[in-house]
């Protein structure tokens, strides 16, 4: 678990959002993946996709049906709107009947066999021409890791300083903590009474 690489990811995300990029990639590791999933859960990222050196097809372009198909679908739905409900499925997940609207389109991302060539592609978010993820800073450093108890985290989330870690005073500031239950946001740790090593703060 190298925090050096995480530091690189932090600065890369800051630079990417400064450059107003829509999609960017970072090297793949279990730490990165879990942290990025946490960021997505908190709404900082729009998508997290495992892919190769080439970017995956953007989400908007993935499920395109040709216009004729679309027209048919619309007509069918307007005449029989109950078809919009999902098809009932059995307990093991297999659908009991055929979907009247046609099969769901699934997009396959080709992931290289060679792990060294894999990249994690992140969709960045912007709102009112401002990046949603503007700042991302490491709290634990590669040479000085910081573990916090849930009490410390409680104090920090209530904007107070604890164990030499500054409180979350900026509006909408988040802190991610790696615990034995995975990488969680600090407030979630407080809720579940978990302590752990602090990774980074995001705002």
């Amino acid at each position: 678990m190298s925090l050096v690489n995480l530091a690189h990811v932090c600065s890369h995300l800051q630079n990417a959002s400064k450059a107003r990029l829509g999609l960017t990639s970072i090297p793949v590791s279990k730490l990165h993946v879990n942290l990025m999933m946490g960021l997505q859960r908190e709404g900082f990222l729009s998508s997290v996709t495992l892919g190769g050196t080439a970017p995956p097809k953007p989400f908007l372009l993935q499920t395109t049906t040709d216009p004729e198909q679309h027209e048919k679908l619309a007509q069918k739905l307007s005449s029989e709107p109950w078809n919009a409900y999902p098809v009932p499925s059995a307990e093991d997940g297999t659908p009991l009947a055929k979907d009247p609207l046609g099969n769901e389109q699934l997009y396959q991302v080709s992931v290289p066999e060679n792990p060294a060539r894999r990249r994690l592609w992140l969709g960045l978010k912007y709102w009112n021409s401002e990046p949603v993820l503007k700042n991302m800073k490491l709290v634990s450093k590669p040479t000085r890791r910081i573990w916090l108890t849930s009490e410390d985290l409680g104090r920090i989330t209530r904007t107070r300083e604890a164990s030499y870690v500054k409180g979350l005073t900026r509006p909408g500031e988040c802190m991610f903590v790696t615990t034995d239950r995975g990488i969680l946001e600090a407030r979630e740790c407080v809720e579940r009474k978990l302590g752990g090593m602090v990774l980074c703060r995001v705002w």
Partner: protein, 427 residues
Amino acid sequence: MSVCRSVRCLFSAVSLPKPSSAPKRSFHASAPRTARRRRPHYPSIKAEDLKLLNQAAETQYPKYDTSETALLAKRYTPEQIAAIKAAESAIDARDVVTQGQNRTDPWLLPYEDDLAEVDPVTDHAPKLSPEDIPGKKTFREANEVERDEAIARIANENLAKMYPDGIPEGQLNPKQEQQLQEAMEAAFTQAALDPRATFYSENPAAAQALADTRHSIVQPDLPRIDNRMVRQTRRLSTEEAEDPRQKRLLQYLDWDKQKLRTIRVKTLVVHSVTNQTRMGKIQSLYFLTIAGNQDGLLGVGEGKSVEPEEGRKQSVMSAIRNMRPIPRYENRTIFGDLEKKVGATKVQLFARPPGFGLRVQHLIFELARAAGLQDLAARTPRSRNKMNVIKATWEALCNQKLPDEIARARGKKLVDARKVYYGGSVH
């Protein structure tokens, strides 16, 4: 037994010099001042002065004479008169002269008046209630005969008011004749409009009450005050000097002058700047002014001119024009901590709990006060250039990230826990 007590015992037998009234050992180099003689609470008055005083009091506050007591007896019951007499005898007229003073209590009248007369400006107009009308209070619409009769009677009354010495008779010059004609016309019009002409009542008191303004629910008009002082101090809005720049500003803001007066303006930075030309140096003055309405609007403006007044006005106008809304949490502090860097100046602003106050440096204090912030802390860790501090603070306050915006951007639901906890009654 302490040391001093033992000493006292030792010396008690021996006759010691008595302590004088003056302190034996002075702690000061200067001579001690004797205690001031106590002054009596009331002045001592000589007998002949007292006689004069009694005379003055008697002339100023004379006793009731028999004619006055007779008048009082008409108005008041015997018990009330007894009370009045007791009060009169209890208060010495001499005391009123020597000790009488104006009231200072909170219930005193805001103007000087002995309350003998009804002043139409300061006092309520006298009112009469239906109980004051003796007899029956019924009336009906008058028929034509009664109406004509009433009009004639009222017109006569009105004419008598206009000509108290009687209507002039005999030969009249054309001017006088025209005057009389006009007066008669006015009297008749007034009589026709009088409610006594339209309605008829068996009870003459009820008929009189119809025309009595004391029975009307409409307040009588204030009297025209037309003395020299009022005329000289009266100002029309058109007479005021119109500043063209202010006029343009008002047009731009779509405000009126009244609203502009509520803006708090303060010039925070003044210094002279020099332009070096080939002819020589040109000195001019630079002004930086802030403007705020103390309720969430704040602006910063700059002005520069060779003439000081001109530059100041420029800066004031641009500050008011530049006013921008400042989002405030609970109308008292900011949303979270802010940081802004302008040039080498960095300003950090911190939100604080209610009652914390403005613990900030003077420039930021002025800005916060103009914007209506009450709880704030700040640090300026780097350069403290006055202009840059003001600009950085202003920009930081203007460009706050609001929780609602953050929630929309992240697609999360954010709730103000303080507001929910206190049931929305935090401010």
